[in-house]
């Protein structure tokens, strides 16, 4: 392409004219609050991302269909970072340049990589079910928000459930912990060891090689250990293989449990009836009964505005997406309550997110209170049991051993503060 003097001059004139007008991003975007969701749709987190993202998009559609918050629409930019850190960082930087004030990468590697940037840029980074467990400490991680029970709290909830089911005493009981041999899989170990000392149970750990597609040599050892309780800790194919091997080894599933990473689609792979009895940590209600899910069905899905397959509405991971997005949007509401005129920025939203009090998303989630100190939201969840067709609550919302969990949170957060790692 040749550049003539005339085109050069005319382009220069246009640029000169354009720069005379200051473009206010918020004004240009007509009252929009920007979120960014650079998530992994194609590599490791594929087992959850599609349903989680569908729940997020449908909830945002519901909010926007009702006129947004204070006349502001929520604009969520969804992109695929493929669990690839350079791509996640590039997408984060693009979101930042476009004015995003909240980023939700849904994945531990991306969340960890983005943490220093989010802290420096004062952009709220949502690390629900992922990222650093110690990010619950808002004094050290003011812009990082897990907004859900971290893995330390999840294992504490399971142990407390075992204790209550064992007559209030775990002394001498044997607990087997089968986990993927990665930092995520090992995450609960410090809390398990602390609780072992405190409660006097026996602990045997069985790491398996990622991704966990062959665990046939692990589970005979678990069976022969004659455990009172079993916890398996992985994701994706590792979870379905673990559960299948537990069945093949004849372990009673009423004594077998896992973290939040167990869903209806896992049960389809294992066999819905065969998996009956298995336990999981449930951070929000599953199914379509919750009022918020009913509203999404009526106002978004039935008019044909849903973002994905209608049959996925109400699955565990769909509801996780709705849960976390409803807390984000509640943060926006609180931010408007504190500073109705903005200016809309990461700091503005941070103040809102840090002052959420007893928020229940119309019965979908446990009472959640986020403070400048506690970004976990109180650490409440419940234990649910798969009954062959759906997850049914086995307990009410509760929290457990938060003294032990917060000791660990403060210790590791202090290390981060000192070393930056």
């Amino acid at each position: 392409m040749s550049v003539t003097r005339r085109t050069l001059l005319s382009q220069a004139a246009v640029i000169a004219l354009a720069t005379q007008f200051r473009i206010d991003p918020a004004a240009a975007q007509e009252k929009v609050i920007r979120f960014a969701m650079p998530q992994d749709f194609t590599k490791i987190y594929t087992f959850v991302t599609a349903e989680y993202s569908q729940g997020q998009k449908d909830y945002i559609a519901l909010v926007n269909a009702r006129g947004g918050i204070n006349g502001y629409r929520i604009l969520a930019e969804v992109s695929d970072q493929g669990n690839d850190l350079p791509r996640a960082i590039e997408q984060y930087e693009r979101a930042k340049s476009q004015g995003a004030i909240l980023v939700d990468p849904l994945g531990t590697p991306a969340a960890r990589a983005l943490t220093p940037r989010a802290l420096a840029d004062k952009i709220n980074l949502i690390t629900a079910y992922s990222g650093r467990s110690d990010a619950a400490d808002g004094t050290v991680f003011p812009y990082i928000f897990p907004l859900s029970p971290n893995y330390w709290t999840q294992i504490a909830l399971l142990i407390d459930y075992f204790r209550t089911q064992s007559g209030g005493d775990l002394k001498g009981k044997k607990i087997c912990f089968v986990h993927i041999d990665t930092p995520f899989g090992k995450e609960p170990l410090p809390i398990l060891k602390r609780l072992q000392e405190k409660l006097g149970f026996e602990l045997s750990t069985f790491p398996y090689t990622p991704p966990g597609n062959d665990q046939s040599a692990i589970w005979p050892q678990v069976r022969r250990a004659r455990p009172d309780w079993v916890v398996f800790w992985g994701a994706g194919v590792g979870q379905t293989v673990a559960l299948t091997e537990a069945i093949r080894n004849g372990l009673p599933l009423s004594k077998v449990s896992s973290s939040v990473w167990l869903s209806e689609s896992d049960m389809d792979v294992v066999g819905r009836q065969q998996a009956a009895g298995v336990l999981k940590v449930e951070p929000c209600a599953s199914g379509r009964e919750p009022r918020l899910i009913q509203q999404i069905l009526k106002e978004v899905v039935e008019p044909g505005k849903g973002s994905g397959a209608a049959e996925k509405v109400g699955t565990a991971y769909y509801n996780y997406g709705v849960m976390i997005t409803s807390i984000m949007v509640e943060g926006v509401r609180q931010a408007f309550a504190k500073a109705p005129n903005g200016p809309i920025s990461g700091e503005w939203l941070n103040a809102g997110l840090s002052s959420i009090t007893n928020f229940e998303a119309e019965g979908l989630i446990p009472p959640t209170t986020v403070t400048p100190q506690d970004h976990q939201g109180g650490g409440k969840a419940r234990i649910a049991r798969w009954d062959g067709t759906k997850f049914v609550p086995a307990t009410d919302w509760f929290t457990a051993y938060q003294d032990v969990v917060w000791d660990e949170i403060r210790t590791t957060a202090a290390e981060f503060q000192k070393s930056g790692k």
Binding site: T46, D214, V237
Partner: protein, 295 residues
């Protein structure tokens, strides 16, 4: 460690090894006819499992029909791969051909979960998960049945190489020019080898898919298959049987005996150590023919 556990790990390890051997047999089949290590064999196993799942779950065919249809589709896919990709590489350095198979592997691993969805899929071939105890020893039904089917198929491959078509393929593997000169259609023999190899990969994909579900991780079978093919000898079908059993046994026992000592993770190390040691100490494997080139 109790003897019963070692026995249980050994029995199940042997069956697992036989299931790996089926993937390795496909590798050997192609190597024997065209002298290429097909590094897309794991992805072909994954593709075969996806195809059978799609015929069954998406098109609603019963499993007894979905499996033979899947095998036919994958035989065709093998033929097409050879015709459209591999044949164009004739005259190119072997390394380029191997790179092409890596390219196919990467492409299939990305494209198939994209088309069918990345979540794990259930492939129910009717093998019950109920525990099967013989005394104190638990036999994993899925791996036992999978291992026995693999054993039968690998044995069938050995018999096939003694048939007329098999002899033709052996001749092609020995000397392509000489085969041409006696009227053997080398390109056809190589194409059939690709078709059969894709069929074997599909059978392995179905067996593994029924034990673990169908997802991208089926393509990881390549690493085990490579270790077995290298240990057994890249041109020896009987070699893959013995090597499969050895590697399955070693992995299973390593998980039981070494993992508690070192904190886990030894299962996958076994395959890589075997590849390294075989290449260093006996590059042609246990049963492979030593190639002597006179210059």
């Amino acid at each position: 460690m109790e003897f019963a556990l070692i026995l249980e790990l050994s029995v199940n390890g042997i069956f697992i090894g036989l299931m790996y051997a089926l993937v390795a047999a496909g590798l050997v089949l192609i190597y024997k006819t065209s002298g290429i290590a097909n590094l897309a064999q794991g992805a072909l196993a994954m593709m075969g499992a996806y195809v059978v799942w799609a015929i069954s779950a998406q098109l609603g065919a019963p499993m007894w029909l979905a499996i033979p249809l899947g095998l036919i589709v994958m035989f065709g896919a093998g033929l097409l791969t050879e015709r459209l990709a591999l044949r164009r590489m004739i005259g190119q350095p072997v390394i380029m051909v191997i790179m092409l198979t890596i390219g196919i592997e990467i492409m299939l691993r990305g494209v198939l979960p994209g088309i069918f969805g990345a979540a794990v899929k259930k492939l129910d071939v009717g093998i019950p998960n109920d525990p099967l105890f013989i005394g104190d020893i638990l036999i994993n039904r899925a791996t036992m049945i999978g291992g026995l089917i693999s054993l039968a198929l690998v044995a069938l491959s050995i018999a096939f190489f003694n048939s007329r078509l098999g002899l033709m393929m052996r001749a092609v593997s020995d000397d392509q020019m000489a085969s041409w000169s006696v009227g053997i259609r080398v390109d056809r023999a190589v194409a059939i080898a690709w078709g059969l190899s894709a069929t074997m990969a599909t059978t392995a994909g179905i067996l593994w898919g029924s034990t673990q579900g169908v997802d991208w991780s089926l393509s990881l079978l390549l690493i085990k298959a490579l270790a077995i093919a290298i240990l057994g000898g890249l041109d020896s079908i009987p070699g893959v049987l013995l090597a499969g059993v050895l590697i399955g046994l070693a992995e299973s026992l390593a998980t039981g005996l070494l993992d508690p000592l070192v904190g886990g993770g030894t299962r996958d190390v076994v395959a890589s150590v075997i590849i390294l040691l075989t290449l260093l100490l006996r590059p042609h494997g246990l049963f492979g023919r030593e190639h002597i080139e006179r210059v």
